[in-house]
């Protein structure tokens, strides 16, 4: 069986990523929780998370941690994402990829909450 796997091009990618990390350090640390339960997956959670990654990359914003939030018991609201920023946990429900891009641009990067999509907000 012929094996294909070339890691050489990935080494270049590493150097590029390293460069942009050094150029942009010291930004506010933000955490995004994405729920990846069965209902969320069926509702498009994977595409939502991909849109988030794409938007973060386009805007060169790397001071963010994306973690899995598990199923949050909010099946009706899936896909759900939670943004942890400035001491608050903000939960957005029924998120679609285009909404996720706006949440990244306005809330994750600039700290402006998009109130009409918020389903819960708690102090951390």
């Amino acid at each position: 069986m012929a094996k294909i796997n070339s890691l050489d091009e990935l080494r270049k990618l590493r150097d590029q990523a390293k460069e942009s990390m050094t150029a942009r350090s010291g930004e506010a640390k933000v955490r995004i929780r994405a729920s990846m339960g069965t209902v969320g997956i069926a509702g498009g959670a994977r595409e939502v998370l991909k849109a988030i990654i794409d938007e973060l990359e386009k805007r060169n914003f790397h001071e963010v941690e994306i973690i899995e939030g598990g199923s949050m018991g909010l099946d009706k609201e899936e896909p759900v994402i939670v943004v942890e920023r400035d001491g608050f946990q903000t939960t957005y429900g029924k998120v679609q990829p285009e909404m996720a891009r706006q949440i990244v641009a306005q809330h994750v990067i600039n700290g402006q909450i998009i109130s009409e999509w918020v389903i819960a907000r708690n102090k951390q």
Partner: protein, 186 residues
């Protein structure tokens, strides 16, 4: 689920919730020698006893504490059987779980494989601490990549850095296209 790659993501998440630190996904597509599409997920999670395994394909079984009905596996099993395929599940408490599903590749009712690259990217994005091995076999060719070899390349740059994830997506897509060699599978 609309596509098998989403079922695969769902099963991978089950492995994560079972505490797995090592997960191996093998995807096999054969059209030349046989008419077969199958996938296998092996993990070193906490495993299940025989009673749990036996009840797993009952739609009223779920480990979720917030829901009472889980439909993921029973529905997928039904779909596989409809397509002249089947499924197998082996599990041992304290050792891990191995689950496989297979289909007749050309069966008219077979769900599309869908975006398997995005499913793999999810593992790097939100479970970068897990050793995830992805093997994709297409007829006589195969591709394999593991989290540990990627981490060796990226060194101090986290694998879930958005720029790295985007680059990995391109890398996986290129390798997938090479595997298919211009032919249409999916």
């Amino acid at each position: 689920m609309k596509e098998l790659s989403l079922n695969i993501l769902d099963i991978l998440e089950n492995s994560i919730h079972a505490g797995a630190t090592r997960i191996h996904l093998t995807l096999q597509e054969y059209l030349e020698t046989k008419d077969f599409l199958g996938f296998r997920i092996e993990d070193n999670g906490k495993g299940m006893d025989q009673a749990m395994v036996d009840s797993l394909f009952d739609p009223f079984t779920t480990t979720s504490t917030t829901k009472t009905v889980g439909l993921g596996l029973p529905l997928l099993k039904q779909e596989a059987e409809m397509c002249n395929g089947g499924c197998e599940l082996e599990s041992q408490p304290g050792v891990g779980t191995k689950v496989s599903f297979w289909f007749q590749h050309t069966h008219i009712d077979r769900p599309p494989l869908g975006d398997i690259v995005s499913t793999v990217i999810m593992m790097y994005a939100i479970h970068s601490g897990v050793e995830f091995i992805f093997t994709h076999e297409v007829d006589n060719n195969s591709f394999e990549v593991s989290t540990s070899e990627l981490k060796e390349v990226f060194q101090d740059v986290p694998i879930n850095n958005p720029k790295i994830l985007q680059g990995l997506e391109t890398f996986l897509l290129e390798n997938k296209n090479q595997l298919y060699g211009g032919k249409h599978y999916g």
